[in-house]
Amino acid sequence: MAALYVFVLAAFLGYQVISRVPPLLHTPLMSATNAISGISLVGSIVIAGEHHTVATILGFIAVACSTTNVVGGFMLTDRMLRMFRRKETAVATKDKTNASSNGKAK
């Protein structure tokens, strides 16, 4: 039952946190949440570590898949944000009127 409480509260929290993200950051956010959803890696590790043939084989595939998800997701987010940063500084130097959103970039 406690798990159900956690689930419902987490749903609300997720909504609250995500609803404030500007459209500008939607793509990196999608990628990052994709990486975080790779937390199923934790369950996969437990399954793969048990010493039973079927569970271990399924677990091995699951570990490989979710690691792909985690590593790929975070690396991609990093790549996106790096590109984004460069674009943002370029905008900052070009357009000084938009100072509120990139105060640190100056």
């Binding site: 994709n34 990486a35 937390i39 590790i45 048990e50 271990t56 091995f60 792909t68 105060g103 970039a105």
Partner: protein, 182 residues
């Protein structure tokens, strides 16, 4: 509870907090990078915590899986062109969902084949596992379709045939029915 278990619980708690802070960080351009690093660190903590879990008896397959997955994910992230980003996220999503479905199946197998006591399988647990497998499988195929469409492998126009809605509803009813039967 001994100290190791306390440590494991602590790593999970820390990981959850770091994930939330990470997502919050992603809501502003200046803190986006830091947010991502927080989430990465949280994931690392969760993995370390799980590796210490006492249910794990052998590490060979875990390490093999981590290496294969890491190499695959790294290669995909490194060489995929920036323009193909949405497709790649869809594909990556399919991988994650597939893993979740497999975990559910393996867990169910453990209970039905006497590896874990069947008495431990409560209705709530069964329900959670059923949803895990159902949604995992649904997300896998859905994400693969999204990938194929974005990549241009499948026509973007919706596929419509006679009685499609009835068929879809029947399919959904069968899935839910099977789930309740189990």
């Amino acid at each position: 509870m001994n100290y190791t278990q306390y440590f494991i619980e602590f790593t999970y708690l820390a990981a959850s907090i770091l994930f939330i802070l990470g997502l919050k960080g992603l809501s502003h351009p200046e803190s986006a990078k830091r947010g991502m690093h927080l989430a990465e660190f949280g994931m690392l903590m969760a993995i370390i915590g799980t590796l210490l879990s006492r249910e794990i008896v052998s590490y060979e397959w875990i390490i093999a899986g981590l290496i294969v997955g890491g190499a695959l994910g790294g290669a995909m992230a490194y060489w995929v062109p920036m323009t193909a980003m949405p497709q790649r996220t869809a594909l990556s999503h399919a991988f994650g969902a597939f893993a979740a479905a497999l975990v559910g199946i393996a867990e169910y197998y453990n209970y039905t084949h006497g590896i874990k006591p069947v008495g431990d399988l409560t209705h709530l647990k069964m329900g959670a596992m059923g949803f895990e497998i159902m949604l995992g499988a649904l997300t896998t195929t859905g994400s693969l379709m999204a990938f194929a469409k974005l990549q241009g492998m499948v026509r973007g126009t919706p596929l419509i045939y006679k009685g499609q809605n009835i068929f879809n509803m029947l399919l959904l009813a069968t899935t839910v029915g099977l789930f309740i039967c189990l």
